[in-house]
Each structure stands twice: as structure tokens, then as C-alpha cells.
Amino acid sequence: MKSMISLRNVDKYFQQGPERFYVLRRVTLDIKPGEFVAVMGPSGAGKSTLLHVLGMHDTAWSGEYLFLDQPIHQLDRKKRLEIYKKYFGFVFQSYHLLDDLTVAENLDVPLSYRDIKKSERQAIVADILDRFRIVGKKDLFPSQLSGGQQQLVGVARAIVANPKIILADEPTGNLHSSQGAEIMEMFKQLNEEGATIVMVTHSETNAAYAHRIVRIVDGWIEQQ
């Protein structure tokens, strides 16, 4: 099958004084539609960086990135954003909930940026609150939630707009194991329904849910 995502020789560095500090080195990676990929590696290896490149949050890199045959590295910001909105959902490593919005409002934000009617949006948010069993928290602000609960909301927000591909940066890092397992089950189900998933994790248990594990060390990918 053809690749959904195809990275070719992607380099990413940070300039530190006269020196270039490489975070990604000649990364070449193919992900097919419907795949469930786990990205693993030591801290500081470049996992989050890779995910941000895939999620197009980061465009300061060199190499080629084809998404469904579209050359992302050549597209302008507007075009990229369109693609992103249509296909992607993102779970941030540090949740990144909006402090001034309630849980329900946070979940509504991605929907508000896609042409969805208000009434429909409310239904979708209610549905997702239900699915994550956080209906009782819907009017709380992020600062009133525990770290685990915040993460749960972050995951919920990533999938609320029904993305084709989910990029998740340690989605269970702060959850206790039973909650973590629940999230993984949910991912598994979404994957079976057709979603492609790229997930950064430190946990072998979680990685076991994936079809394939991509290991990354010092910015280099070790293909399996």
C-alpha cells in the first residue's frame, strides 16, 4: 500500500552560537494509512521534535515530507493548515490546555476552527465528554484538574474533530495504568476504525498496542 506519510532525509538542527546542534538526522520514515506506530527512544532523542515536524507545527527543517503525495515542504502556510485541519489531531506532551477556557470549551476549540454548526459542535462535545467520562468536569478550568485529568482532556481534544491521523506525544505519561490502558484501548479502537496513529511513548506496554515501533536515538532512526 502507498504511504500516507513519507519523510525523506529530514534534518533539523538548532543553531547554538557557531555550532549546529542536530536533533533530527537524515530521518527517512514511511507510515501507511491505518498504521499504528510507536516512537520510542531516550529522553532528548528528538521524539517530540519529530512529532512536531509530522504535525507541521515546525517547518524549520530540510528534506522532503510527502503527505498523501503532497509535498508539504513546498506548500505555503495556508495550504499546510488546510491539510492539517482536515487530517490531523495532536496530543501534546505537556497537555497545553487553554487556561482561560473550561474543559468543554477547550474541547470545542478545534471544532470552532472547522466549519461545523454550533448545535452540532455541542453534540460532539457532549459525546466526547461522555466517552472520556469527564462530563462532571466539563465546567472546570484546567487549573482545577489534576495532571492526569488534564491529559485526558488533551487526548479528548485531539480526537474531537475526528482526525484521520492522530499524533500523540506520550498520551499516558501522567495517567495511572488503568487509565492509560483505557486510552490505549480507545486508540486501538480508533485505529481499527481507520485512524492512523503515531504515538511517542516510554512504556513498552503501550508500545505493544502498536503495529510497529520506530526507535530514535540522538536524532537518528533505527529502522526495524
Binding site: H57, L81, L97
Partner: protein
């Protein structure tokens, strides 16, 4: 005490370490405080600083009020001055003064200066001592022996080089020899603007003209007497005078007004408005600074938290913050004095006519004290918000802030937002007020004056009495000059008149129309003009004819009347051809109306048209002549040299002055309004600028605080336009709130302003709408930069934080 010193040193060090911030704050304060200091020194010199007279508050003007005809109070005649002098026990002094231009001839050049003819008690009444020389002797007030003169200090300094040996020397005044008997002390706030003082001799002719009311009378309350007592005694004395001289004084009563009122005069309201306006500007500046310091203080939360954790008391922390604000305020005040000195110099260029005694305005000790006080008040005003915020600090959260990575501080953002709303509201008030004054002014400049002053050059000649003693010589002079002026190239029409509209001259005459009660004549403004005067200033003859060269002293006396005089006294009939009795300088004559001319504005453009009577100059040849020369080209000033030469070709001895375009006269009439308007516009612009900067600041900080939020939103699918819109919504929301508050408050301000308005109501919708549009446009501009920065937030960086 030591801790205060430490606070000061610490504050100074902090400020020195942030030179850009400190400079910005000091500049801002300098503008705000400087404007206040400048207006204060105007108020001080015009309203507060006492005249150099002894016990100013016990000095009064005396006027003659006509209770029968309800005319405006008039001056006194010389006879009345004598009548009242000594009749009123509550008045210890009673004196009169008569202004008259005189010609001083030193060497070959004759020079026009202002002479003040004063009665015997004048200097005693005001309490002015004579510095050098001596006062006038009693016999020097006798007709024929009045060849003495006292010089003002400024005339002595400027014209005679301050030479002390002039006392006792001879000065040629109006072709007569006068001895300089003394020099007056410097009187910097003197309003009378005289160059020389001369004795006022009570000649039989002056005493006979009982209704020639030309003398300004001044009186001083006797020790222990009250104004009420004096007024009552004056009333009684008026009745006695009226009984003795019913022809001139029936129904006429002497009344008092405090000299102090006159000093304040019409300058009071514009100055009050300006003082309020600069106060508002300072408030806006303080709100702005409070916002700035709040941001800065929130950057110092960690420092303050640590200090508290180390045991600093709340009072100590408050004091430290306030010390810093005070230091800033004083620096700003010091810079403000420079701004004020510069502004006062700029404002002074408007000249004396805009505001009385404006030329005396300067930054003195009182202004310095005022500035220091205002600076300290400003320091408290803008310093207390950040200082109080420092007290409300929650230690634990402040110390942990970084680790939580929360944007936090909603309340802080709220305070700043309220400050910006207040700034916008205050600027709206100023803008609306300035807009209304601008509309008033532009309306006034476009009013139809009844004549067309554009392209007209004016100049004045006062014929020396000794050289032009008889009427025919003066009439001939005028006729010859006008015909020479008319023959100059570039002159479309030239004419002459005794007085000009839009000057402070106010010539009145009395008249009785046939069939009315001859014992109570009507009064009208008066002028004597030559046949081509109306043509030269573009005033239209509505019916009848203009004067002609045949209306000479030998011909039957004729007059031309203004439209409103004709309408009022000859309603629904033709005034032309009617006769009336004209009373002028003590004698009466029958005259025939030969024409009706359009109404002309005499004092101010917006006045209601007044009845005016015009005589042919040839039939009443005054020594005072204004020439009006209409240029065929655009620039009347270019005719000045040729016109001067034309006059001097007829007579090289006559002094010629006030050579200026007619438009300059009108400009001067409007100058006090122009001053108020221009300053108010400047202050409003300053306030708007500050408010825009404030709004920009709030948004810039908010955007910086929210960059993570914007990053997240973009990562969740927001387009740059969505983020842009978020910032604009915030910014314009604040603006809208400020506009609403400003519009709610503005009518209160403009209602207070309504006496200064003309042709526009205090709720003028156009002005309000324009201000709204302007404010929205300016805030949109202020939003633009932060909004674009927000839209450019790079999600990958923002999300890493």
C-alpha cells in the same frame, strides 16, 4: 530615614539599569506635567497674578448705566467725573483716565504712541508711586499749563534707552512741547498699555460735553466701607446729578464693578477649559504609566516574593515601589519644566489680543512649586496601582509561577484593561470638545461678515491736530490720498473710513427719527466714510446711492444707514429720502438718508447685526483715518510699500501705522478662540496618542502572555486570521467600552463648554460620529502590530515553552 535613603538608591539603580524604560516614562510625564505647568503659568499670569496696584480687591470701575434704554454701561463724561468726585463718602478715591493716541516727534520721525490722560487723583487711587522725578503738580492739570509728561518704565527703557537724564528734558508730543517730569516704576502686569501719562485738563469744552462719555473712572473703597454702601451712595448721587442735568443724565445711574472681574474678563472660560483639558491629559498619562508599571511590576513578582519570603513587611515593599514612582515623577516634572517653558514661548506668539497679559506668561517660582506638587500627585496616582498589586501577591504561586507555566494574572490584566478603557474615555471627551471648538471656529471664519475682507490692505493715519486744524484740510487730505491710491497699479478700489470693523474701536452716535420722542434718542454705531469705502471692502449698497464727491461740507448733510437700522426704524417703508436728527459730540443736525448698506459685523463675526449710521467723511472730517485698499491680485500685502509712498507723497509729516491685511484684523478677533481651539486639539491629540500607546501596550503584553495559547490554537487548527481576529476583538472591545464611557461623559463636558460654541450644539452628531470613527481607526492601528505578532506565533516554539 536610612531605609528611605536605601529605597531611593535602589530605585535609582533600577531605573538607571533600564534606561529605555526610564526615558520613555520621563518623556511621557514631561509631556503631561509640562502641559499642566504651561497652562498654569498662563492662568497665573492672566488670572491669579495681581495687578501692581495697591489693594486691588478694593478697586472698582464706575460705569454709567442707562436704566431707561437698557443700553450697555458707558464710560463717564468729564463733567460727571467732577460731579461724583467727593460726593460719595464710601469711596476714598475717584479718578478718571482717557486713552488717546498721541504723536511723539524725536528727530525727524513722528511716532504714534498711546497716551493716557489722567485726572489729578489717578496715581493715588491706584497706589502707583513715581520712581524718578515727581508726580504732576496740581497746576499742571489746568488747561494751558498741562505741558508735563510722565513716562512708563517700558517706554523709557525701549525708546529712550533708560537714560536717567531725560527727567527735566523736553518731549514734542502732538506738536506741543512737554517736559518729562518723572518716570513710573516698572509695572509688568499693567493692563492699560499706555506709553505716556499726561495730565487731563478739564477744559471748558470737555466740561460742556456732558454726554461725551469718554473717561474710564476708577474708585477705591474707603477703609471700612463696603461695596453695598458705595453703590447706594452712588445711586443717591446719580439722582442728584440727574435732577441738576436732566438733559444728559435722566435715568442714568453710576454703578460699580470690581476691577478684579475685568482682569479675569473673557479669558476666564477658555482658560478654565484648557486647565481642565490638561488635567485630563495628565490623568491619561498617569493611567498609561500605571499600566506600564503594572507590567513591569509583574515581571518583578519573583523578586518581590523572594523579598517577602526573606521577611520584608508589606509596608516596606509598598514604600519601595512608591519611592520608585515618586522618583520617576520628579524626573518627569523636571523635564516637564523644559516642555512648559517651550510651550509658553510658543503660546505667547498668539499675542496680547488672544488673552490679556499673555505676554507676561513665564515659568516663575509659583509655576515651579505647582509643577513639583503636580509631579508628586502624579507619582501617587500612577504608582499606587502597581504598589498595591505587589501587596496582593500570593507568595506560593509567585514562587512556583515558572514551573506551572501558566499565563495567569487575570486580575492584573483586568486592572490594565480598565486603565485603557479610562484612557480612551478621557480622550474621547477631549476629542469631542476639541471637535466642537474646531467646528465653531471654522463656522466663524466662514460667516458672512457683510463685507469681503480678502485682498484688502488697511492702514491708519492720524492727522496731527496742529497741522490739520480745520475741517476742509482733513477732507482734502483724504480725497487726495484716496485718488492717488486708486491710481496705483494693482489697486482695484481704495477708500477711507474713520474706524474699521473688527477693531476694538467703538464709535457711537445718537439719533432721533422723525415722530419719535426727541428727548430719548436711540443710539447706533457710527462711522464716517468716503464715497469709495463701501466699494473697496465689498459692502453692497442695497438701496439709494453711495456717498458722492458732491457730499461736501457745503452740501446738505446726508447719511447712509445699515440694513438693520432701516428695518428697525422704517419698517415696511423705504428709508431712503427720510430725515433724522443726528447727535454727535454735543451738537445736533438734521440729515437725510441717501442709502441703505448691508449689515456688517463690527466686533465679532457672529454678533447680531447692529444699527449703524455712516456720515460722509467730507461732512465730518475726523483726524483718524483708516484706508482700505483692495488689491486686484491675490496678495494685498504686496501693495504696502506703494501705499505708504502714496500717503507720504501727499504729506511726509503724517504718521502712518497699522499697515496690515484686513484678514489679520479678523484673525485677531478670533485669536483667543483660535488659541483655545489649537491648544485643545493639541491636548486631545496627545491624549489620544497616549491612549493608543496604552492600548498597544496592553495588547502587546497580552499577546506575549498568550503566545502559548495562540500556538495551541494554531496547532488545533486556527488560521492566522482567527488569531488576528482574537486580538482585534480584545482591542476593539476595550475601545468600544472606552467610547461608550466617553460618550456618556462627554455631554457633561461639552455642556459646560456651550458658551464657547457657535453654530453647533453641544451634542453635535457629526462631531460625535467623527470622534467615534477616529478613535476606532486609531485603535485598529494600535491593534495591528500586536495582532500581527500574534498571528506570526510559531506554534513549535510556543508549544515548547
Amino acid at each position: 530615614m536610612t531605609s528611605l535613603w536605601e529605597d531611593l538608591r535602589y530605585a535609582a539603580r533600577l531605573l538607571a539599569r533600564q534606561p529605555a524604560f526610564t526615558a520613555a516614562v520621563v518623556l511621557l510625564l514631561a509631556l503631561g506635567i509640562g502641559a499642566n505647568a504651561a497652562i498654569f503659568s498662563l492662568v497665573d499670569s492672566v488670572l491669579l497674578r495681581p495687578l501692581p496696584y495697591r489693594d486691588l480687591d478694593r478697586l472698582y470701575y464706575v460705569w454709567m448705566r442707562d436704566n431707561v434704554h437698557g443700553r450697555p454701561p458707558a464710560l463717564l463724561s468729564v463733567a460727571e467725573l467732577l460731579d461724583f468726585n467727593g460726593q460719595v463718602r464710601s469711596l476714598s478715591h475717584f479718578a478718571g483716565l482717557l486713552h488717546q493716541p498721541v504723536t511723539v516727534t524725536r528727530g525727524s520721525e513722528p511716532e504714534r504712541v498711546v497716551g493716557a490722560f489722567v485726572s489729578k487723583t489717578y496715581f493715588d487711587t491706584l497706589g502707583i508711586p513715581i520712581h524718578r522725578g515727581r508726580p504732576f503738580l496740581p497746576e499742571e492739570y489746568q488747561p494751558g499749563r498741562n505741558q508735563a509728561v510722565l513716562l512708563t518704565d517700558s517706554f523709557w527703557q525701549n525708546q529712550l534707552g533708560g537714560d536717567p537724564s531725560v527727567v527735566g528734558r523736553i518731549l514734542r508730543i502732538d506738536s506741543e512741547i512737554h517736559t518729562v517730569v518723572g518716570i513710573l516704576p516698572p509695572m509688568e502686569a499693567e493692563t492699560r498699555g499706555a506709553d505716556l501719562y499726561l495730565p487731563l485738563p478739564f477744559t471748558p469744552e470737555l466740561l460742556a460735553a456732558r454726554d461725551g462719555r469718554v473717561v474710564t473712572a476708577l474708585a477705591r473703597l474707603a477703609p471700612g466701607a463696603t461695596e453695598q454702601q458705595a453703590a447706594a451712595e452712588l445711586r443717591a448721587a446719580s439722582l442728584r446729578v440727574a435732577a441738576a442735568h436732566p438733559a444728559s443724565n435722566d435715568g442714568i445711574e453710576a454703578v460699580l464693578t470690581p476691577v478684579m472681574d475685568d482682569v479675569r474678563g473673557s479669558a476666564g472660560q477658555p482658560l478654565a477649559v484648557l486647565a481642565a483639558a490638561v488635567g485630563i491629559v495628565l490623568l491619561v498619562a498617569c493611567a498609561n504609566l500605571a499600566g506600564l508599571l503594572l507590567v513591569r511590576a509583574s515581571g518583578r513578582r519573583k523578586e518581590i516574593a523572594v523579598r517577602s519570603a526573606l521577611g520584608a513587611s508589606q509596608g516596606r515593599i509598598f514604600r519601595q515601589m512608591i519611592t520608585e514612582s515618586m522618583l520617576l515623577a520628579l524626573l518627569g516634572g523636571a523635564a516637564g519644566i523644559a516642555v512648559a517653558a517651550w510651550s509658553v514661548r510658543a503660546i505667547r506668539n498668539w499675542g496680547v489680543l488672544a488673552l490679556p497679559r499673555l505676554e507676561l506668561a513665564s515659568i516663575g517660582v509659583r509655576a515651579l512649586v505647582f509643577t513639583a506638587l503636580v509631579s508628586l500627585a502624579a507619582g501617587v496616582l500612577f504608582g499606587s496601582a502597581p504598589a498595591l498589586q505587589a501587596l496582593r501577591l500570593n507568595l506560593a504561586s509567585a514562587l512556583n509561577e515558572e514551573s506551572r507555566g501558566s499565563s495567569g494574572g487575570r486580575a492584573r490584566g483586568l486592572t490594565r484593561s480598565i486603565l485603557v478603557v479610562a484612557e480612551v474615555a478621557l480622550s474621547v471627551i477631549l476629542l469631542v470638545s476639541a471637535g466642537l471648538l474646531l467646528r465653531t471656529y471654522s463656522g466663524l471664519t466662514r460667516l458672512d461678515l457683510g463685507f469681503d475682507p480678502s485682498r484688502v490692505l488697511t492702514m491708519r493715519v492720524v492727522l496731527p491736530a496742529a497741522l490739520y486744524a480745520d475741517d476742509p484740510s482733513r477732507a482734502l487730505f483724504l480725497r487726495r490720498v484716496v485718488s492717488r491710491l486708486n491710481s496705483l497699479p494693482g489697486v482695484a478700489a481704495a477708500g477711507g473710513a474713520a474706524v474699521l470693523p473688527m477693531t476694538s474701536a467703538n464709535w457711537r452716535c445718537q439719533f432721533a427719527v422723525d415722530g419719535s420722542d426727541a428727548s430719548s434718542p436711540e443710539s447706533a454705531d457710527y462711522n464716517a466714510v468716503d464715497p469709495s469705502y463701501f466699494d473697496s471692502i465689498g459692502a453692497r449698497i442695497l438701496s439709494g446711492r453711495p456717498f458722492s464727491d458732491t457730499d461736501t461740507g457745503a452740501a446738505p448733510p446726508v447719511v447712509i444707514v445699515s440694513q438693520s437700522l432701516a428695518n428697525r426704524y422704517y419698517p415696511r417703508q423705504d428709508a431712503v429720502g427720510r430725515s433724522l436728527t443726528l447727535h454727535l459730540i454735543g451738537h445736533s443736525q438734521r440729515v437725510t438718508i441717501v442709502g441703505v448698506v448691508r449689515d456688517m459685523a463690527l466686533k465679532t463675526p457672529e454678533e447680531t447685526p447692529r444699527p449703524i449710521l455712516y456720515q460722509p467723511h467730507a461732512q465730518q472730517p475726523w483726524r483718524f483715518i483708516h484706508f482700505t485698499i483692495r488689491a486686484s491680485g491675490a496678495d494685498p500685502a504686496s501693495l504696502a510699500t506703494a501705499a505708504r509712498r502714496a500717503v507720504h507723497e501727499i504729506d511726509s509729516q503724517v504718521p502712518l501705522d497699522r499697515v496690515q491685511p484686513f484678514s489679520a484684523l479678523i484673525g485677531r478677533v478670533l485669536s483667543s478662540r483660535q488659541l483655545a481651539m489649537v491648544l485643545l486639539i493639541a491636548f486631545a491629540a496627545l491624549a489620544v496618542l497616549l491612549a493608543a500607546v496604552g492600548l498597544y501596550g496592553v495588547l502587546a503584553v497580552a499577546v506575549a502572555h498568550r503566545s502559548r495559547e495562540f500556538g495551541i490554537r494554531m496547532a488545533l487548527g486556527a488560521r492566522p486570521a482567527d488569531v488576528l481576529a482574537l486580538v482585534f476583538k480584545d482591542g476593539l472591545g476595550l475601545t468600544a467600552a472606552g467610547l461608550a464611557a466617553g460618550f456618556a461623559a462627554a455631554p457633561l463636558a461639552t455642556y459646560a463648554l456651550r458658551q464657547m460654541l457657535y453654530g453647533v450644539t453641544f451634542l453635535d452628531p457629526l462631531t460625535f460620529a467623527t470622534v467615534a470613527a477616529l478613535i476606532l481607526a486609531i485603535s485598529a492601528a494600535a491593534c495591528l502590530l500586536p495582532a500581527r505578532r500574534a498571528a506570526r506565533v510559531d506554534p513549535s516554539t510556543a508549544l515548547r515553552e
